[in-house]
């Protein structure tokens, strides 16, 4: 008898088996009912901003994403932070250089085609892919080594949650999780149209746009922190020391 059989047998013995369990479970999964939720004010953007600030995120706003590099440059300069870093491929075309920033795009990764082959669906960022990518190794490249030295990581977000001031990130070919994790400063461009009220709404959006969850879903709520020493909150544990949210239409 395997450990699995033994454990399941013990459970079976302790509980009267439910004759229509499979049905009840299938029904609950199909309906996935929502529990009680707090009332979130109608102005989701304002609520999101207020909550994000409470979590020690910094928040800036612009109505044109073209202004994002300049806002970021000013922010970094004011804090005397390094003016270079890395971004997700979809953001590679923003005018980083013009704002005095040296932002490299992650090398776009291959996508899986229905016939099993792989191809690049995102065009390589023009002139901005630095000498990161060892030639011929793009298919299985690991981003980890060179990522560790990046001071700034720029991402967008799948959506954002007003209730808690949280970003929802879905890992994928062009959205590596490491960009929001390894650098000391994480910058996320949040499209105000993608701010939802609650975590339940965020899951619903994911169900609508994807047939199954990606390998990694990460909810990020402010800079990493620890209170392990004397229960004193200290920002910047193993992840970013600061999170800058720039609200801009994407």
């Amino acid at each position: 008898m395997s450990a699995r059989d033994n454990i399941l047998n013990k459970i079976r013995k302790a509980q009267t088996p439910n004759s229509n369990a499979a049905e009840v479970i299938a029904q609950h999964l199909a309906q996935h009912p929502r529990g009680p939720r707090p009332n979130i004010p109608d102005d989701l953007v304002a609520h999101f901003k207020a909550r994000a600030l409470k979590l020690s995120s910094d928040v800036l706003e612009t109505d044109d994403s073209k202004n994002v590099p300049q806002l970021l440059a000013d922010y970094l300069r004011e804090k005397s932070l390094p003016m270079s870093g890395v971004c997700w491929p979809e953001l590679a075309d923003l005018p980083w250089l013009a704002a005095g920033l040296e932002i490299h795009s992650h090398p776009p990764l291959p996508h899986l085609n229905p016939d099993g082959t792989t191809s690049h669906s995102t065009k390589p960022a023009s002139g901005q892919v630095a000498g990161y990518l060892p030639k011929g190794e793009e298919a299985n490249i690991s981003l980890r080594e060179f990522n560790d030295t990046d001071a700034v990581g720029v991402t967008s977000a799948f959506c954002a949650i007003a209730e808690t001031g949280t970003l929802m990130m879905l890992g994928g070919a062009d959205t590596p999780a490491t960009t929001s994790l390894l650098p000391e400063t994480h910058v996320a461009i949040v499209d105000p149209k993608r701010i939802v009220a609650t975590m339940e709404d965020a899951w619903e959006l994911m169900r609508k746009e994807f047939s199954q969850p990606p390998r990694a879903v990460n909810f990020i709520s402010g800079p990493s922190r620890t209170a392990d020493i004397e229960q004193t909150v200290t920002l910047g544990a193993h992840g970013p020391y600061r999170v800058l949210l720039i609200l801009a239409p994407l």
Binding site: H28, H32, G35, P36, A173, A216
Partner: protein, 469 residues
């Protein structure tokens, strides 16, 4: 399996009460976590309804654990996760050691997992030649100091920053830092290469989601994300009771867990991990293993102790427990301290090994009031005490005392007479101060504080007087 030292409970209590440094640390915990919780729990508009929902979600799974586990296993396997079942802590150690050998693992980076503490996993891996690095700051400090955690959420609550500074200076061989922020940065810089070079990441899982076959991890430091993203192998270890049906259900629980634990409306990171890295994923482990540990949990099912399996390990019951607040976590002798530990330790590692724990409570009820999943902790403690009585596990002195009391209680006239004499006698002993410094048979009380002497009248006498007015 980690050794249970709960037999030493009474001796430990005396030591801990006299430990001035520990008392300072515990009062800090109380102010930060207790006040922190009360500040954010009110953000939940309908707290009673939300707690009901949370308890209901946990009950739904526990009442039909077999089917939910099987559903979880099916979904997880479909995404390329290998699901293992472990009956004991030793089984977990064996499975992780085998996975390590199979993938040629030399180093492992670990984020906090209380279940792995149950197993004593680190020692087992070290014996098998795998270097394990704890990466949660608190757990890292404990690993350097070779100590056990004293709280399930804040493992190093018993140490102050001076001790951490001394420890880092000694172990890191760097100039001694004094500020907490500097200490944190030093640990970050020492640990970063460990993350980048680790072959295997080891974590717990706060919840397993049946709908998607995922493991969900809440952390603040980001180490949970690092150990599940960078190494080529990831092993998540958790109890069989941790299954939650849907993403909506986990959202309800996530409203309560961080608020109850650390007074945060949400933890910095909530990571949901589903399956192994696919061809198109730029990061993530090539191999993802989830180990489901029983270790006595299944024996709680279907009985009067099943409610305990709802526990989501928030730690609120210990933060609010007057006994924990005074003695800290180490005195409880095993992995889980406070009220939840006083129930889980005897149930998972033997009532005979932890005879004092069910009694390590004043039954004040604070724990049941704050428990987010409405576990009736005082009732469960009382039931354990009953079990001890039934099995004749109480000391002879205590049994005799209770029997004597029971006899008097059945003879009201004699009861009234005996209490009248006793109370008068104690009032005389108490003298002008009205305090007893020493009470035969109750030195446990009077060694640490005085016992207020009765005024000389019994409750019955006072009651009669009031009534006849």
């Amino acid at each position: 399996m980690m050794q249970n030292n709960a037999l030493q409970f009474k001796r430990q209590v005396t030591i801990k009460l006299a430990d001035v440094k520990l008392q300072g640390a515990l009062s800090r915990l109380q102010s930060r976590f207790v006040e922190g919780r009360s500040a954010v729990i009110s953000e939940i508009a309908d707290l009673p309804q939300t707690r009901d929902a949370a308890a209901g979600i946990r009950n739904r799974v526990l009442n039909d654990l077999e089917h939910w586990l099987l559903h979880f296993e099916r979904e997880a396997t479909a995404r390329g996760t290998v699901v293992h079942w472990a009956e004991t802590g030793e089984d977990v150690n064996r499975i992780v050691t085998e996975i390590a050998a199979q993938h040629g693992v030399k180093t492992a980076a670990k984020s906090k997992s209380m279940v792995s503490e149950e197993c004593g996993l680190n020692d087992a891996l070290e014996r098998a030649g795998v270097t394990v690095m704890e990466t949660d700051l608190g757990e890292y400090i404990l690993q350097l100091a070779k100590e056990a955690p004293s709280h399930i959420v804040a493992p190093v609550v018993h140490k102050n920053k001076e001790e951490v500074a001394d420890l880092f200076a000694e172990k890191h061989g760097l100039p001694r830092k004094t500020g907490i922020a500097e200490l944190c940065r030093e640990a970050r810089e020492i640990l970063r290469p460990a993350f980048l070079n680790a072959d295997m990441g080891i974590s717990g899982a706060n919840f397993l989601i049946a709908e998607t076959g995922s493991a969900l991890i809440v952390t603040n430091e980001g180490n949970g994300r690092l150990v599940t993203t960078l190494p080529r192998v990831h092993v998540a270890i958790t109890g069989i009771e941790k299954v939650v049906p849907t993403l909506e259900d986990v959202s309800t629980l996530l409203r309560l867990l961080p608020r109850s634990a650390t007074g945060q409306s949400i933890t910095n990171y909530v990571s949901m991990l589903t399956g192994k890295k696919s061809v198109t994923d730029p990061d993530g482990p090539e191999h993802f293993h989830i180990i489901l540990l029983d270790n006595g949990r299944s024996s709680l099912l279907g009985g009067e102790m099943q409610d305990m399996l709802r526990c989501i390990r928030c730690g609120a019951c210990m933060n609010h427990c007057p006994v924990y607040q005074n003695i800290g976590g180490h005195a409880y002798g095993w992995v889980y301290p406070g009220p939840m530990g006083s129930i889980l330790t005897p149930l998972l590692s033997g009532l005979e090994n932890s005879p004092d724990l069910p009694n390590a409570s004043t039954l004040c009820g604070a724990c049941a009031v704050v428990c987010p999943v409405k576990i009736p902790l005082p009732d469960l403690l009382r039931k354990l005490r009953e079990k001890q009585m039934e099995r004749g596990m109480k000391s002879r002195q205590e049994t005799l005392l209770l029997k004597t009391w029971a006899w008097f209680a059945l003879h009201p006239k004699l009861y009234a007479f005996a209490t009248k004499v006793g109370v008068k006698f104690m009032a005389i002993l108490g003298g002008k101060e009205k305090l007893l410094h020493n009470l035969p048979g109750a030195s446990g009380w009077t060694n640490g504080r005085d016992f207020p002497a009765p005024t000389g009248k019994t409750f019955r006498e006072l009651y009669r007087k009031e009534h006849n007015k």
